[in-house]
Subunit: 346 residues, 2 copies
Amino acid sequence: MTSTSTTPVTVAVDVNGADLGPAEVARGAALAQGVRVILFGPAAEIGPVPSHVSVVDAPVSIAKDPDPARAVRRTPDASIVRAVAAVKDGDAQALVSGGSTGAALAASLFGFKRVPGVHRPALAIIIPVPGKPFLLLDAGANVEVRPEMLVQFAHMGAAFMEAVHGVSAPRVALLANGTEPNKGTEIIVGAHSALASSAGLNFVGNVEGFAIGSGEADVIVADGFTGNVALKVMEGTSAALLGAVRSAAMSSWRSKVGGLLLKPALRGLRGEIDPEEQGGAVLLGLRHVGVVPHGSFGARGFTRAIEVAARSVREDVAGRTYARLAEAGALRTTASEAVASLPDES
Amino acid sequence: MTSTSTTPVTVAVDVNGADLGPAEVARGAALAQGVRVILFGPAAEIGPVPSHVSVVDAPVSIAKDPDPARAVRRTPDASIVRAVAAVKDGDAQALVSGGSTGAALAASLFGFKRVPGVHRPALAIIIPVPGKPFLLLDAGANVEVRPEMLVQFAHMGAAFMEAVHGVSAPRVALLANGTEPNKGTEIIVGAHSALASSAGLNFVGNVEGFAIGSGEADVIVADGFTGNVALKVMEGTSAALLGAVRSAAMSSWRSKVGGLLLKPALRGLRGEIDPEEQGGAVLLGLRHVGVVPHGSFGARGFTRAIEVAARSVREDVAGRTYARLAEAGALRTTASEAVASLPDES
């Protein structure tokens, strides 16, 4: 679970399923700095690679399978299953998947153990608000949750922001329909109270949807249903608004000239909010980190994904998550552990 | 519940709580066409009004009370309570509230009966996506829901879009974390199946958050928790993005000139997505419609709110909602009705 800085980190990358093809993923791997990469996919489509990259021929893809969980169990030679196995067996220390989030999730859940005491892993994603980025989790791995799972997500997200983004004492908030502690469903109200009393957590309370862009939290915790809806509403709203601005800029000669003059400045903004820069979503709570770039990402997005994965290993996200949960007394207790912790009768 | 077109519609308006003050609300009322208005608030702050507007001196305000439900019960002379009573007693046919949504909700729930067979009223709001507006409900009145409530929300929203916005056979969608029928919480999966088989409903399936701006549905149904988060995420994302575009336009002389040239076209866009144009949120499922403008609205927003309220009365939104629910067999059955419908034993 830990790694010293002298050991070079190796990242296993499934190249199947990326929209721009395996060669584009390989170009991304070639550009990744200070890390070894093993690519799993159709070797014939990958071509020559530099010395820090190796290729395992794994042409079978389940990236588009409508039932990823079943496909993972039935297809041991699928590239994602083999990439996960390489991490499990110690040939690599983290995973990057070019295929569907569903396949990456299913393969990781099936192949990697959880951080001891973690109820459920969660999918976390950096929302690149200009100057005020934050981590949203769960973005869709757990549709039904319990308050104790949301507390764990909070610690998982905080550990990631500390380790990978260098944020000290990350401010953690709970996504709800009001800032008052009694707002939300029974589960959200229960989670608020549990978060407020969780040791080692810089909990700043509930935030509403307005918090997108306000910079008031570094980590926003949600159940996977609400988190997924919120993430896609952000993307949908951004697309609709930028599309409308573009149309407005095409509506007259005057505005066309204005749009051209504004273009370089807007390109800077576009770069700042570019999701490729973040490398994709990160699966937290397992003993190995998995990074899931969006299928549409180009080489740069995959370079960043590999770098985030490597940094997660070097900074020991899994170990820090465990330490935080243990300190907060938020580890899951199994039935046998609960029995063992009972006072001795003799 | 119904009204003939020869009877002029009267709308009761609570002017307390509006950010710009009672006089601004009164200016909005003065501009409303083809409707009578009774203003409830501090008469001294309202000033002279035209002949279609009358004023009831009701200076007591609970618009900022942190516990609106309690305030409503304890303050019979509050302006919102008196406005609701005027509707209840037949002096007016619909409500517009300038105060907090919480106070308007509490007073309406307390004072108005439900449409017969309706489980719970819902808060609906038109999302003004350029060229593709849609109605989102519930936007926050019901944090915990059951599938049969979501089915009723679908019919309530469809009735409103038909009656007030002239959309025939409105396309209704369910907000979820995936388009597949099995995506979402147990309640969402149950609602999908119930919506798919509900008579008289043009159900187009699940939509994801991306649907903001896609124009694929006229009505999007959600539980009040998710709907509220989605609504505020839209607002937060729009504000963050428009703020970033503004900053980009100020970043150099070149872009400042571009921004100035683009301004008229963007002003048009700003008008199209201006929430004041929609009049505010609408409380559906009660025998009288209540419209809740945002506290920040100016005169025009209140004019539109009064017009939406009047149109809801003229087009009989409540009656159409009942007719739809009856046709679909989606009316709530009380215990006594259930007993009465049992086969006769004799």
